[in-house]
Every structure is written in C-alpha cells, then in structure tokens.
Symmetry: C3
Subunit: 349 residues, 3 copies
C-alpha cells in the first residue's frame, strides 16, 4: 500500500516557474520533470531516461519535447520517444511515464495515480480567486523536511500559535477559546469565535473601528488530502454570521497546498486572498514577509518532530483535547489511502 | 541487553553550564534535557514532549518547570505535567521520564538506569577536591566521535604516549618501563616507576631540584564504568612510596569522565588537580591548553579506530603485551553490563 | 562472488605521487597504503594496523617500513612486523597483507587478488610510451563517484559526445557514422571512419592541410577489466589504413585506467600520447585543460546514473543500437568475474 493517496491532484509547481526551463521535483517519492511543450502546455514526465536512467531534467528543451543530455533521445509531452539519434527504429519500451497536469489558479496540478481517473472536477476550489475586490498574494513556496501529516496537524491546530508564533502572529494575551468542529466527506473544519471584543491591533491598522466591538471567527479547513485553508473573519459584533456578511467584514483566506516530496519531506506551496487593501502592494509585501517567517517557525517544530518520529517509530505518546480535529484529519487521509489500495486491488504500488 | 551499564552515575554536564538555560545532551543514546528548577536544583528529563515528541529543550524555562515550545505543556522536575493550556484534566500518560541527578565536584551526575537504585554512595570520589594546597583545573569538555571503550583502552595504556603525543607530552627518549597492574572489584590500576632518574624538563620548571635524582611514578586508574584517573608523582629518589610521601612530592591527578553519547561517540569531561603552583592561573591556563591538545591527538586515533571497527565489525586482530590492563578493563565493563542484564531479568532494555 | 575482477593489475597511483609520503587509497573496496621502502621500491599494504585497526597511513615512514602512529609497531614492505616497542616477541598474527606492485609507465600497478598469480606479462601495454616522436601528457587523475561500469560504457560509446561534450569536444554538425566492432579474448574495439572529409578545426590548428581531404578514424578500445584507449587518426584521404600509415598521420592515443574505489566510485587515471607538436608544452597544457573539462562533463552524467541505479536497483530499461559495444564490454567483465569465482572455488572473497 502506498504511503500517499495517489489518485488526487497535488500542487506540482507555480506556473510562473515554468517558463523556458525544466523543473525537476520529487513528488510522492517519484522524480518528475515539468516543462512547457512547444504549444506552451505544461507537461510532466518521469524524470529518468529509460535508456541509462539519467534524469531528463539534465537535458534540454527542444521543439518536439525534452532531449536527454546523454545520448539525445527526445521524448514528447506524452512520454513517447520522438527521436533517437543514429537509430531509425524506436523500441517499444523507449518511453517514459507521463503524468496528467491541470493548470489552474496559477498552479500546475499533477495527478500521480492512475491517469485514466484524472478528473478535473476534483481540482481544489479557491473561492474569490480572480474576483474583483479581492487581492492575491501567491507564488509562496517553502521546503519543509517533515512528513506532510505533521504539517496537516499543525494547520488544523490553532492552539500552537501562542507558543510557536510568539515572535510573529501569536497573541500571548489571547484567552483560549473552545474549538468546534464540523466534518464532511472530503473536508473537516475546526473553528472558534471570539465574540464582542475589541478589534486586534492588526485589524485596527486595516480599518478605523472607532469604539466598535467585533466578532472574530477563525476557520481551519482541511480538504483531504492536501489543501489547508484558514479563513479569518472580523465583522461588527452581533452581525449575523452568513457568508454574505463575512465578505462585508475583513476577511483573510490563507491557503496551503501540501505535496509530499518523500515520506519525510514536503513541498509547501501557499497563497493568500484578502478582501481589503486592494492593490496595496506594500501591504502585500509586508504580509508575505510575516507569513514566510511564521511558516518557518512551524518548520522548525515539524523538523524536530520528524527526527523524533524517525527515531522512535511512533507519532505521539499522549493525546490532548486540542488533537480532536487533527486526529480526524489524519484518519480521513488514512481511510482515503486504504480505499485507494482496496480499489486498485493488487495493482496498488 | 543494553550496550551500556545503566545503573551507574555518569557525568552529564558541568554545573557551570546550567545557569538560566536548557542543556540538551544525548546520554547512553537517550535524549536528555538538563536544567535548574525554580529552587536552583538541577533536574534531568527525557528530552521529548509526550504529546507530539518535540524536544522539550526547544521550549522555555518557566516557574513550574519546562514548557514545551509547541503547545505549552509544562513539566516539573519530576517529569509530571503541571499544566496543559486550554485543558483542565491532565491525562495520566502526560508525563516524561525524570532521571536522578546528583550535584558534586562541580558536575551534574546522572543515573540513567533504575531510579530506585540510584545510590549517592556510589558517586565517584575525587581525592583532594576542595583541599587546601591543591589547585583545580575544571570545566574541560570534548566531544569524541568514538565508542567509549576505545577511550578507556587509550587511557589505560601509557605505551601510546611516545607515538601519539610526540608534539605534546610524549618523550621519545623515554625508555619503555615494564607496566605493573593491580585489580580490585571496581577498579584497576596500571602503573610504572622510573627510579633514580633526573627530573623531567617540566618538573624542573615547577621546582628547583638541583642535582637531586627523583623517582617518578605513573598510575593509570580506571574505575568502572566511566572514570579514569592518571596520578603522576615525582618524589626524591629513594623516598618510601607512601600516600603521605606522594603528597610531599609533585603530584598531578588528571581525571576523565567518559559518558557514552551513542554507541559511536562519547562525552569526554576532564579535570585536573595538582599540589603545586597553587593559585598560579597562568600556569593553569598553559596546562589546560596542553591537555586539550593532547586529548585531541587521542581523538584523531579514536575516530580512525571507530571507523575501522564499524567497517569490520571487530575491535582488533592481534593482542600485544601492552594490552593487559586495557583488556582487563574492558572485561570488567562487559561483566558489569552482563550482571545488570541478569539482575533486571527480561526487563533489561 | 566479488563485485570486481581481482586477479588483475589496476592503476593504484602515479609514481610521482610516491615520494617521501604515505598514500592512502581505497581500491576494490579495501583500504590500501602505498609508499616507497628504504630501497625506493613501491610497496602496498592493507591500511590497517592489526593491533587496534588504526590506518597505517596515519603513521610515519621509517627505515624498516611503516610505523603505526598509535603504538609504534613497524611493518616492512612484505607486511611482516619488524618491531613492537616494549615487546621482544612478535606474535604470528602481527602482520598485514601486502599487495604485489609493478612499476611501469609512471604508474604503480597493484594486484588485489591472489599474490601467487601476479603476472607481470599481464600488465597493460602502452604503445609508443617513451618512443621518440611521441609526446606524453600524464599524471591525470579524477575521482568519479560512479561505478566503473558506467565509465566503461561511456568510454565505449562515441554517441554521447554530441550531447555531453557540446562545450568541449562535441561536434554538433558531425553526421552520425555507423560504428563497427571487433572483439578479441581480452579486448573489444568499436570504431568508425569518416572518409574523404575536410580536416577538423583542431586538426587544422596542428597542421596545414591546404585543400587536402582526410580520412578520420576513431577507435575505442577497451581491455578488460580496466583500460580504455581512444585512438584517433587523421590520414590523407585514400591512404591505406595500416598501423604504419597511421603513424604518418596525426594520431592521438588517450588512455584511461579505471580503478574501482568502491562499488559506487572510481579512481580515474588518464594519460595521452600524440605524435605531433613534440615538446610543445603550451599545447600540452591546453590539451590537459580540455581533457579535464571533458571528463568532468562525463562525471556529471555518471554521478546521476549512479544515483538512479542505487535508487532503482537496475542499470537501464531499454537498450539502443549504440549499446552494442558497451554491452559486450560489460559481458566480458561479468564473465571474467565469474571465471575468477569458479577458479578460486569457495575461497573467493
């Protein structure tokens, strides 16, 4: 049984990374090379020439596809060999695996499982992307040397903010709020409200609230297997909590797309959408810096956990109340992987 | 069966290291964090939060103990959980192992085995520590990437001095002396006398011997499992070799406390006591430099041995006469470990 | 069965490396120390003192041989212990393995197998070495972190030149020529002729050909298990292709001596002989730089192959026509290793 759910879309690269270059990236522990074919379409191939196993990413982009840097074999975007220098006949095994790619939200999404099942309707949905009145920060990437489950747990757990992020977004004065939870088939959300409070210092920088009290909601969504969305809402105290009213307040949507690199490391892509300070690039720059620093604080913890888990072969010794939502999230992934394995029978890799 | 004798005191840290900080150190292949509790008492805990396995040493010192840097769980010096943010009930398994600590001779001694057997009467004894008329050099520490048995053998073997320490304390002109040996239950000493000789160049720097001949004794003590003491004595030739007379001559007591870090690396703590040049800090500084350099010469050899042993899976191919005392020392450790294993029955880790 | 053919001569070191020093080098995955004995003869010993396994190369050269840096044991060039400080009796096991060495062509050749079979008539033969009218570039060495079979294949395969060496010796305009092959018991040669063509740009730098057309031959010899010779000949078009005529044209003989260091790395020694620009040291320097750069281009590819092979446990997925000669070469090595194993029966290491 694979350690990963494979029949899923994972963020493989920012489209902006894929200009006139070859991008080599290990995804679900397989070496992949991404590039644009001569039509500008993003394609992804197994990053190994079938001849001598040299990574194709050491080669060059040519009209018909990618040319191996060792003996010049050319493979097209479908992984078919289009040319062998000095040889007319193309052997049947002269091919490399091609992975389905979808381009959306500025991201190349890859499908590492059964290509026949690649289903565009299952791509992640990012609300308000490209909407007027919403400002986007994108292109975020960090390499986190930790299993992606550790990152999922971290992102489903607001309790660590006070301790891990005291230098960035943590608020030591914040009184612990009870966290609630809602689970659907393909996602889970943990959330808490702070009612009728003064606005946060940062909210005051965004808008003049005067003496007005606010209700502040924090929603931690996790869509299996690889998308986290943190939705933070500040609305006037007492306003009915509807999606429409949320958009009238200050709203932050922070997305992370977690793509396992190996069993012990993760590609951490992130973007952020807000409904205020539209067009304010200076504010965006400042937020970007704050987010990067915050995620690096998490990274330190995640790395330490990874080392302990590798040494001990377990993930934890005692559970806490704050683990409820993360525990459900991990179980959802477990079930997904098991279902995939059952589904594909003995074919599962 | 453990590779190490566990029901023993090992040097864990210099007390001077333990101010207002957390000291993380792997000891007998277990991660340990040392700190002073609010009463100033040194305590040692397993360096892993039982919740998510993050090292507690990444956290902070608080009034009630140590606070995990991930979710703020607090553990007191006994390893009991004293606080969980946002949760009133402390689960029974929310605890970490606490190791007995004894503070003596400027050192925090740790007992890694069965806490119920931790016995202060079994602490190492350092003669003349704090005695008037004796000058101390302490605080010495080196990390030696070699199994501690290689270091024990080295310290029981004066024969290597001519070859390994030719740039420091070696004396190429020294004629080999027959080494004698005495074994007791818990220690062994190898020793040799050079009778009726001119004083060494260094002894002449310490004292004006005129034309006087001296007897020079070298005693290499090893107290299982982890203490080495080299006792070097220069007395007027012919003086009766009694403990009382030794103290009338020039006397150097060099102590090393070997604490296995892993199977292939060792914490090497050292101190030195002398009965001359009392209060002479400049001389102490010079000796400290000489010792550090000497121990680094041994370290090179020990590292090379470790690499060979790891590759070959053996410790030596042929024995020499000079191996007598080291061989007995190694056997004493072997027996100690076997007795511990038998003693603890199937519980032995 | 060994991974290597052992009853063979391998290049161990340049004689010029062996002055008044100890050269430590792992060969066929065994640690070896090379030095000149007091007669100036090169000797090779297992690089481990049999006492405590310290590498002898950490010791010093003395009159009677090599002295261990730990306790001063001295071993002569035959590996016999000649002296133990402080001990008169030499134990029978106080010896180290000695390897046969032959000095020829500026190289110390080592025989890692059964010493009784070391046969000087089986040393590699280098034509025109020391001949008048031939200019030598020698002393070349690179460390290639790849199994030597990958390097053998590379050296038997002219097809990669266009792609790997486009910055150095590759000629993108060169039309692919059919490669022919001839196999004998102990060598194989792949070769191709380009008939009646204009001289190459480099050939024009060497000699004024005027309007003359040339025939250009490239011969890729591989002598099992470890010698590659690339013989490149430029003669007037139509001249009969005889060895005598070859020497009348421009001729380059590029030798590589591949000595496995481990299963995944290789000592790459090289020398070059030419029959033009005799005594032109500036030209030699320029060629040396070009060769070094070219071999480093190959090294990049070889390293990448090694990593893929280690991950996948296979060497290739599909064969091409250009693999004919390399495949035969690899089979010749395989057979040699199998014959050695059969020959030595159960004694094979």
């Amino acid at each position: 049984m694979s350690k990963f759910a494979k029949n899923q879309w994972y963020a493989a690269a920012w489209l902006a990374e894929l200009g006139n270059t070859l991008v080599a990236r290990r995804i679900l522990d397989e070496p992949v090379v991404l590039f644009r074919d001569s039509d500008g379409k993003v394609v992804a191939l197994a990053d190994r020439c079938p001849h001598r196993l040299v990574p194709l990413s050491m080669g060059t982009l040519v009209d018909r596809g990618i040319q191996c840097g060792y003996h010049g074999m050319v493979f097209d975007g479908a992984g078919r060999c289009a040319h062998i220098p000095g040889q007319d006949k193309i052997p049947p095994r002269a091919e490399v695996r091609s992975y389905p790619i979808a381009e959306r939200y500025g991201i190349a999404w890859i499908w590492m499982g059964d290509a026949a099942r690649a289903d565009l309707t299952r791509l992640p949905v990012i609300d308000h992307y490209d909407d007027e009145g919403w400002e986007l920060i994108d292109g975020g990437y960090q390499h986190h040397p930790s299993n992606y489950l550790n990152i999922v747990e971290n992102l489903m757990d607001p309790a660590h903010t006070t301790f891990v992020h005291k230098m960035t977004i943590g608020n030591p004065a914040a009184k612990s709020e009870p966290v609630k939870m809602k689970k659907e088939d393909d996602y889970i959300v943990a959330f808490k409200w702070l009612f009728n409070s003064p606005p946060s210092p940062m909210d005051r920088q965004i808008k003049d609230f005067g003496d007005q009290s606010v209700d502040r909601g924090q929603f931690f969504y996790y869509y299996i297997p690889a998308v986290s969305r943190v939705d933070i809402i500040t609305i006037p105290a007492g306003l009915e909590p509807t999606e429409e009213n949320f958009n009238k307040g200050l709203r932050n949507n922070s997305y992370k797309f977690l793509t396992p690199e190996t069993d012990g490391s993760t590609h951490f892509f992130w973007m952020h959408l807000r409904n205020y300070k539209i067009g304010d690039k200076e504010w965006s720059q400042r937020m970007r810096g704050l987010f990067e620093k915050t995620f690096l604080e998490d990274r330190e913890i995640e790395m330490a956990m990874q080392r302990s888990q590798e040494e001990l072969g377990v993930r934890q010794f005692v559970g806490l109340e704050i683990d409820r939502a993360p525990t459900v999230a991990i179980r959802m992934i477990d079930r997904l992987i098991k279902e995939e394995a059952k589904d594909s029978g003995k074919v599962a890799a």
